[in-house]
């Protein structure tokens, strides 16, 4: 019974991710794609959590925090690239 509820949740999350993948492919601007990829990462966190309940293990709980941190760093890096054209500048107060 409980497994059925979990499988239904995984199905709906997969449908949500398909919608987000549609936005990644179709998205008119790059910003749409970046936001959609960030949301795919967060949906992946939910899928990992549900699958770790289904498999009855807590070995994947580190993965959840890991995906969250990586999605954050990746989104910040991409938005900085869109905003300034460089990801890391040598001296932000200098004239370069």
């Amino acid at each position: 019974m409980f497994d059925t509820v979990l499988w239904i949740s995984v199905t709906f999350l997969s449908l949500a991710m398909i919608g987000l993948i549609y936005r990644v492919i179709k998205g008119p601007t790059v910003a749409d794609r970046v936001v959609a990829l960030d949301a795919i990462g967060i949906s992946l966190v939910s899928v990992v959590a549900l699958v770790s309940i289904l498999l009855d293990t807590n070995a994947f709980l580190d993965i959840i925090l890991l995906i969250g941190i990586l999605a954050f760093i990746g989104t910040v890096a991409f938005s900085k690239f869109l905003e300034k054209g460089v990801i890391m500048e040598y001296d932000r107060n200098g004239d370069r």
Partner: protein, 140 residues
């Protein structure tokens, strides 16, 4: 043009400690749970990359005055030293030893020389990753 990154810099200052604590947890949990030197080193360098994104390379160099190539060399020295230490006790290369010690605060703790080897892996991963990223970031 001077830009204003107050939100990014404040969030970075708070998040950095969470990421570094998580990487240290992954490093020390490696013997009994998923984790270890490799993923711990990658998460630590991820924290430094977040610092590089929010600030600039010059500021991060003044915060963390580390020569990452030397860090790689120290890590390799740790790994080889752990392996060669077994030769002193008439054992084959890379033989590890462990013992249980009653620490004053931690209780019964297992001390294993594989932790020293893992420290080598941790330092090498941080050194190599940061050398690659900083070398690419500095090039004009």
């Amino acid at each position: 043009m001077k830009t204003n990154d107050v939100i990014l810099q404040t969030v970075t200052k708070v998040t950095l400690f969470i990421i570094i604590l998580f990487s240290i947890h992954l490093f020390f949990a490696g013997h009994y749970y998923p984790g270890g030197g490799f993923i711990g080193g990658l998460m630590t360098s991820g924290a430094i990359v977040l610092l590089l994104l929010a600030f600039d390379i010059k500021t991060v160099k003044s915060i963390l005055p580390i020569d990452y190539i030397k860090l790689t060399a120290i890590g390799l020295l740790f790994a080889i030293g752990t392996g060669a230490g077994a030769l002193l006790f008439d054992m084959p290369f890379l033989t590890h030893a462990y013992t249980y010690v009653n620490m004053p605060l931690l209780g019964k703790t297992s001390l294993h020389t594989a932790v020293l080897f893992d420290t080598g892996v941790y330092l090498v991963v941080i050194g190599v990753t940061m050398t690659i990223i900083q070398t690419i970031g500095e090039s004009e």
